[in-house]
C-alpha cells in the first residue's frame, strides 16, 4: 500500500493489485504492534484516507500477477482476477450474510473461527465490499444471498478473468506467510491442541478475534495462565528456514505484554537461543526483562510431550546457562513461527526467470544486469521486516520504480 501511495502521490499512474479480497496484508491481522503497542487500524485508516483521495491510484483486489514479459519501461503483465460475485453496488449492509447459513473457516482468524460464506474480510476491509465464497456461488445458498441484496450487488455469473496490460516498473510487495508449524514435528503442533502459533495468538488477544480477546486455550476453553513462548520455531534452522525471521523475538516480547494486560495471574516464559531485539528495540527488551510476570530460559526446546490428564504440553530440553535438564509443564505453548516469503513455491509462468531470489526465497531483485532492472521488492517480500521497516523499504522501492518510469519515458521521447 505504501509503495503504491508514494508513487501515486508523486503523480504516477499506479495499479495496486492484491490477491486477497482486501488490502492491508498481514498487518491488519495483528492485534497491536510494537514498539508503540498501537492498533494497526490506525495506520490502515491513514493509508486508506490517502488512497481514497488519490485519483492516480487504482486498486484491484482478488487479482494475481501470473506472467510477466518485456523489459524495464515496457513490461507486459498478465493478471488473473478471481470472481468476488459482488459488484461495486455493494454498500456492505450485510444482508447477504444474514441470508446464508453455510460457514467457512475465517481466513482473517487463521481458521480459528468460522465466518458466513458471504462475508466482509474484516471491519476495515478495502474495497469495503462483501465476498461470496466460491463454494456457495453456484448453490441455493448463493441464490439466497442474491435475493437478500437490496441493491442488486450480488452477481453469481462472474467468471475468472485474465487481463493483459503494459507497465513501466513493478514493485513486488507480496509479503510473507507463517511457516507451516506442522513441519516442526518435535513440537507436535499437529498433535497437541494447546500448541498454537504466534499469529494465532495475535488473534486470541484481539477483542474482535475468536475468543473476544480472552486468552483461552483451545483444548478446554480455560484461561491460559502459564504460557510458554518458543523462539525460532522453524527459523535459524537448516532443517526448516535457514534465516532469522528477525521480528519474532520482538513479537514474543510484545505478546508477553498481552498476557500481563489480560490481568489475573498470567505468567509468560520465553525459551530462546538469543533474543534479537533488533536495532533500537533493546529498550523494549529491557522493559520486558524487568517485568515480574515474564521469565526467560536460554534454551531451544528439544521436544514437546503431552500430559494426557490435563492436556498440558510438557517442554523438554537443556538450558545453556548451566546445562540443567528440564521437563516443564505449561497450559499453552505459543510457537514464534518464522516468516516465509509468500511467493515460495508460487512462481511459475516465466516469473521465476524474471526475478532473483536469495537462499531463503526473499526477492533480491530483477534477473539480468542491474541497469535493466525495472522490478523491485518491498517489505517482507524482500526480507523479514517489521511494519516500520517494510514501509521504509516500500518508499525506497517506489522511488526506484519512479526513476525507471521517468528514465525510460524520457529516452523514448528523445
Amino acid at each position: 500500500m505504501t509503495a503504491a501511495l508514494e508513487a501515486a502521490e508523486c503523480g504516477q499512474q499506479v495499479l495496486l493489485i492484491d490477491k486477497a479480497p482486501t488490502l492491508g496484508g498481514r498487518t491488519a491481522q495483528l492485534y497491536r504492534y510494537f514498539p508503540k503497542m498501537c492498533h494497526p487500524s490506525c495506520g490502515l485508516e491513514i493509508n486508506l484516507k490517502r488512497l481514497k483521495g488519490n485519483p492516480k491510484l487504482r486498486v484491484m483486489a482478488m487479482t494475481e500477477l501470473v506472467a510477466v514479459t518485456g523489459r524495464r519501461g515496457d513490461y507486459r503483465v498478465t493478471l488473473k482476477v478471481r470472481p468476488r460475485y459482488v459488484n461495486e453496488n455493494c454498500t456492505a449492509c450485510g444482508k447477504c450474510a444474514e441470508a446464508v447459513s453455510s460457514e467457512i473457516p475465517d481466513p482473517f482468524n487463521y481458521g480459528l473461527s468460522k465466518v458466513k460464506a458471504a462475508y466482509l474480510p474484516h471491519l476495515m476491509a478495502y474495497p469495503q465490499r462483501y465476498v461470496i465464497d466460491a463454494s456457495i456461488a453456484n448453490t441455493a445458498e448463493g441464490e439466497k444471498a442474491k435475493a437478500a441484496c437490496p441493491v442488486g450487488a450480488v452477481d453469481l455469473g462472474m467468471q475468472e478473468e485474465t487481463l493483459e496490460l503494459t507497465v513501466g516498473a513493478i514493485v513486488w510487495a507480496t509479503g510473507w506467510r507463517p511457516y507451516d508449524a506442522n513441519k516442526i514435528q518435535p513440537y507436535g503442533y499437529d498433535r497437541y491442541q494447546n500448541v498454537i502459533t504466534s499469529v494465532e495468538f495475535e488473534r486470541l488477544a484481539d477483542p474482535r478475534g475468536p475468543t473476544g480477546g480472552q486468552l483461552l486455550r483451545p483444548s478446554d476453553g480455560k484461561p491460559a495462565k502459564n504460557i510458554a513462548f518458543i523462539q525460532c520455531a522453524g527459523s535459524r534452522d537448516e532443517n526448516y528456514l535457514r534465516h532469522c525471521s528477525r521480528i519474532c523475538c520482538m513479537a514474543t516480547l510484545k505478546q508477553t505484554q498481552y498476557v500481563r494486560e489480560a490481568g489475573g495471574d498470567g505468567r509468560s516464559t520465553v525459551y530462546y537461543i538469543d533474543i534479537r531485539a533488533i536495532d533500537r528495540f533493546e529498550d523494549f527488551y529491557q522493559m520486558v526483562q524487568a517485568d515480574a510476570t515474564v521469565s526467560f530460559v536460554k534454551s531451544k526446546v528439544a521436544r514437546i510431550a503431552l500430559n494426557e490428564v490435563n492436556g498440558n504440553p510438557i517442554l523438554h530440553g537443556v538450558d545453556t546457562e548451566g546445562y540443567h535438564r528440564y521437563a516443564t509443564e505449561h497450559d499453552l505453548v505459543v510457537l514464534a513461527v518464522g516468516m516465509e516469503p509468500e511467493i515460495t513455491g508460487l512462481l511459475g509462468n516465466g516469473l521465476a526467470a524474471a526475478i532473483v531470489l536469495d537462499s531463503s526465497n526473499f526477492i533480491e531483485g530483477c534477473a539480468g544486469a542491474s541497469a535493466d532492472a525495472g522490478m523491485f521488492a518491498a517489505g517482507a517480500a524482500a526480507s523479514p521486516l517489521d511494519v516500520n521497516r517494510s514501509v521504509q523499504s516500500a518508499t525506497a522501492a517506489s522511488l526506484k520504480a519512479i526513476q525507471v518510469v521517468h528514465k525510460t519515458v524520457s529516452t523514448e521521447v528523445a
Binding site: 518435535p186 525460532c232 535459524r236 534452522d237 537448516e238 532443517n239 537461543i273 534454551s299 531451544k300 526446546v301 528439544a302 521436544r303 523438554h316 530440553g317 537443556v318 538450558d319 545453556t320 546445562y323 535438564r325
Partner: protein
C-alpha cells in the same frame, strides 16, 4: 606483548580437534542451542551432552573431554544429528572423539562400550569375521573369572534358547567359520591403519 594478550584466544585444543578428529571441523559451528542435549534418549545418564562437550572443546578443556565417558555412551540413534539446526554431524563427531581419545590412550579404562568395541574388532580382525561365541565369552570374562561365571549363569536362558534355535554353535569354540582369505582382510586393515597414521602425521 601480542603473544601474551592473544594467548588466551588461541584455542589449541579446538585446533587439535579440527585436525585430528573425524568431522572435528564442525565443532566451531555449534551455536549452543541445546537441542541435541535435550533430544538424546540417554541424555539424563551421561555427564557431558554433545552441547557441553563442544563448549568444553572450545574452552580448551582437553583432559576433561578426552577422559569423558560420554562419547562412549552414544548409541548412534541419530536423534541429535537430524535435529541440529546447524546440521552438525554430531553422532560422527562423538565417535570421532571417542576414537581419538582411545588412540591417545586417554579414554576411560574399563568403560564397557570401549571394552566391547576393542574385543569386537580384535576378534573380527583375527578371524576375518566375527566369531560370536568367542566374542560373547570374552565379553563375559572381561572382568575376571568369577564375574565371568556370574555373567554366563545370568545369561544361561538366552544361551540355551539360541542353541535350540541353532543361532549358536558350541563347536565355534574350536575356530568356527572362517572367512576365505583371512590374511587378505588383515592386510586391508593393516593398510588402512598405515594410511590413517600417515594422515594424522600430516595433520600434526
Amino acid at each position: 606483548m601480542t603473544t601474551n594478550t592473544t594467548a588466551a584466544y588461541q584455542n589449541s585444543f579446538l585446533r587439535e580437534v579440527e585436525a585430528h578428529v573425524e568431522e572435528g571441523a564442525w565443532v566451531k559451528m555449534c551455536m549452543q542451542c541445546g537441542v541435541c542435549a535435550g533430544s538424546c534418549p540417554f541424555g539424563p545418564h551421561w555427564e557431558h551432552s554433545p552441547q557441553k562437550i563442544f563448549m568444553m572443546i572450545r574452552a580448551g578443556k582437553r583432559e576433561e573431554v578426552l577422559r569423558s565417558d560420554s562419547m562412549w555412551m552414544c548409541t548412534s540413534c541419530y536423534n541429535c544429528l537430524v535435529r541440529c539446526p546447524r546440521k552438525l554431524p554430531i553422532t560422527h563427531i562423538m565417535h570421532g572423539l571417542a576414537h581419538y581419545a582411545h588412540r591417545l590412550g586417554l579414554a576411560p579404562k574399563g568403560q564397557p562400550t570401549r571394552e566391547s568395541a576393542r574385543l569386537f574388532w580384535n576378534n573380527c580382525i583375527k578371524h576375518g569375521r566375527i566369531n560370536e561365541l568367542k566374542f560373547t565369552l570374552a565379553l563375559y570374562f572381561k572382568d575376571g573369572l568369577a564375574q565371568g561365571i556370574k555373567n554366563a549363569l545370568a545369561m544361561q536362558g538366552i544361551g540355551l534358547a539360541m542353541l535350540k534355535a541353532k543361532r549358536l554353535n558350541p563347536f565355534a569354540i574350536f575356530g568356527g567359520h572362517q572367512c576365505k582369505d583371512k590374511s587378505g582382510i588383515q592386510k586391508i586393515v593393516a593398510k588402512a591403519r598405515e594410511l590413517e597414521a600417515k594422515r594424522q602425521e600430516q595433520a600434526a
